[in-house]
């Protein structure tokens, strides 16, 4: 069954990094959105990717998930070379992502959105049999809806939800199935202070084996939920280190923090 990691993939997973990029570049015409990115993230590690607009953060995510193929370089996921894999094959191996601009099925209800996400990483994606209410996947969908505090609106159409609720649903979709590594693309963008606190709570209470990379402009959120930080600038990795070090780095302050406030 192609949806499951191969034996090699599993064997390698014991020692390998959750995510490993070697010399990944992505050109858009003459513009190098990413140049020569080399990055390793351990299983369970939580990392922030920071950088100004146009630094290549979302392009990095798109290359990792396979939305775009990188122009050159190798991407390994738990030791397995996934560079040539289509997105769905990477997702079935435990990679998940959320989108900067909510990318949901607005014509479907909340529970159906989550149900689809659970179905996408299970078998029988082509099933013609209707689910029963006590079906395992329906159960999984229900508990995910509960986990992101959307129980009260589970039968509403997603198009009718408030913005913050849609962001929470984005996260629920990324948690479906058995995620091993998640990419969060600006999950706090547009959220109220209360919703940001909820978000931090959701992120910090994820099971320890689930690692993630988070792109986030809000330092209060980003630096509280990660153990390491990668700074990007003009498509290159500019600096890596623990949050405290990055925060106090004068170059970083000038380039990013200073620039953002100036």
């Amino acid at each position: 069954m192609s949806a499951l990691p191969t034996r090699d993939g599993l064997a390698a997973a014991g020692s390998a990094n959750a995510l490993e990029l070697r010399g990944v570049s992505r050109l858009f015409g003459a513009l190098a959105a990413l140049s020569d990115i080399t990055l390793s993230v351990r299983p369970g590690e939580r990392r922030a990717v920071l950088g100004s607009n146009g630094a290549g953060k979302t392009t990095l995510f798109n290359c990792i998930t396979g939305d775009f193929a990188p122009s050159s370089g190798v991407i390994r996921f738990f030791g397995e070379d996934v560079t040539a894999f289509p997105p769905q094959e990477r997702i079935r191996r435990g990679l998940r992502r959320t989108y900067q601009i909510s990318s949901l099925f607005t014509g479907l209800s909340v529970i159906d959105n989550v149900y689809l996400a659970c179905r996408g990483v299970s078998r029988n994606r082509f099933s013609l049999r209707r689910p029963r209410r006590d079906d395992t996947l329906s159960h999984a969908a229900q508990s995910l809806v509960d986990a992101v505090h959307l129980t009260a609106v589970k039968d509403r159409l997603v198009g009718e939800l408030a913005y913050g609720q849609q962001r929470q649903l984005e996260i629920a979709l990324a948690l479906s199935g058995a995620p091993r590594f998640i990419l969060f693309d600006e999950p706090a963008a547009g959220l109220s202070p209360t919703e940001r606190r909820d978000l931090v709570h959701i992120l910090t209470s994820l099971p320890a084996h689930i690692g993630y990379i988070i792109i986030e402009h809000d330092m209060d959120v980003a630096l509280r939920v990660v153990e390491s930080v990668t700074m990007m600038h003009n498509g290159r990795i500019f600096k890596e280190g623990p949050p405290a070090e990055i925060e106090s780095d004068p170059e970083v302050q000038e380039l990013y923090l200073g620039g953002a406030h100036g």
Partner: protein, 362 residues
């Protein structure tokens, strides 16, 4: 164009239910139509029974296959009529017809399954060719396939018998019934229609249908959830082609002949018109559209002559009707019906609310 963004009413996966619940869930309107269709032979003469209602059901099935692709998958395929015509040709070629030098005279129970399987394979293949494109490009590719098939039929004499096609294709006689007679043929068409309607309604609520609606709303996200969008779309073509192929078998038995005209660009576009006029948002839409189309086509000649106009201009009436419906209701006749019902419901609720307020005052 109005067909660019069809948003059907979404069907939620439901738990299985008992028969009585099922009876209650469908509105009274549904059961009135069922009973009416069942007793139709007692009410209507053979002309109405076969030339109007059965013919509308056959065209409706072909349009239903387009509605499934368009409404749930966001795929506008012009190849559905071609799939039906291919199945019709195969029944004539493999089975019996007046063109004895080509027809292979297989019994119907061999010819029909083979015709359906081959036509389905043809439809699936067309889907596989066009499925990586979107919107207008899908229309162009499927139109190209449809025209290629039309010209193949027109110019090939060894298999498709060129311009004249095949005549004398008779419906079979089995179980002691001649299925070419009005009443048996009507019931045959009714059973096929009911089965295909049920199949579409059922499939739309099954995980496969739900995923198909997901690929319509947001294909990129579907891939990011682990779905193979291309495979889902090709599977949708296969499902739709089965329905179109069965309709093609009925069509050749109804017409008792098949010729390149059956697969021409006119009929291909007519199916699109039927589906859009009826409404792409619900499986019942194509049948409503087909009934209106057949009635207009049959009677506009008399209507125009009565109005002192040239009867041959019946296409004008159909065209004007199409324009009016697309202008005033992008989701077709079914959309108009739904809006009327919604308005009625709202005014009733408003009235009830008024009564409550009125009742609250001393």
């Amino acid at each position: 164009m109005a067909i660019a963004d069809p948003r059907p009413v979404i069907d939620v996966p439901r738990p299985r239910e008992s028969l009585s619940e099922l009876l209650a869930r469908q509105g009274t309107g549904f059961w009135v139509v069922v009973v009416l269709l069942l007793v139709m032979p007692a009410l209507a003469n053979p002309f109405w029974l076969v030339q109007i209602v059965a013919y509308a059901m056959i065209l409706g099935m072909i349009a239903l296959s387009l509605m499934f692709l368009g409404g749930y998958g966001g795929i506008v395929s012009l190849v559905q009529m071609t799939v039906a015509a291919f199945a019709a040709y195969l029944v004539a070629i493999l089975g019996d017809s007046a063109i004895t030098q080509i027809s292979m005279k297989w019994p119907w129970w061999m010819a029909v399954p083979v015709a359906v399987v081959l036509a389905t394979a043809f439809g699936t293949l067309s889907g596989a060719l066009s499925v990586r494109t979107e919107g207008i490009y899908t229309i162009m590719i499927t139109l190209a396939i449809a025209s290629a098939f039309y010209y193949l039929c027109l110019q090939n004499y060894t298999i498709f018998n060129g311009f004249s096609g095949f005549n004398g294709v008779l419906p079979p006689v089995f179980l002691g019934v001649n299925w070419g007679e009005s009443i048996p043929f009507y019931y045959l068409a009714l059973v096929c229609t009911a089965l295909s309607y049920w199949a579409v309604v059922y499939c739309a609520r099954a995980p496969f249908g739900l995923a198909l609606q997901g690929t319509r709303d947001n294909p990129r996200r579907m891939a990011a959830l682990g779905f193979d969008v291309v495979a889902h779309r090709i599977a949708a073509y296969a499902f739709a082609s089965v329905i179109a192929a069965f309709a093609g078998v009925l069509l050749v038995w109804y017409q008792r002949q098949v010729s390149p005209g059956t697969a021409g660009i006119g009929p291909v576009v007519d199916i699109l018109i039927i589906a859009v006029v009826g409404g792409l948002s619900r499986p019942i839409g194509p049948f409503v559209g087909a009934l209106v189309y057949v009635v207009l086509r049959t009677f506009s000649l008399d209507l125009l002559t009565a109005a002192g106009l040239d009867g041959r201009r019946y296409q004008l009436v159909i065209g004007a009707g199409f324009l009016a419906i697309v202008l005033f209701s992008p989701d077709g006749l079914v959309g108009i019906w739904q809006r009327l019902r919604e308005r009625h419901r709202r005014s009733r609720e408003a009235k009830a609310a008024e009564m409550r307020i009125g009742g609250g005052e001393p």
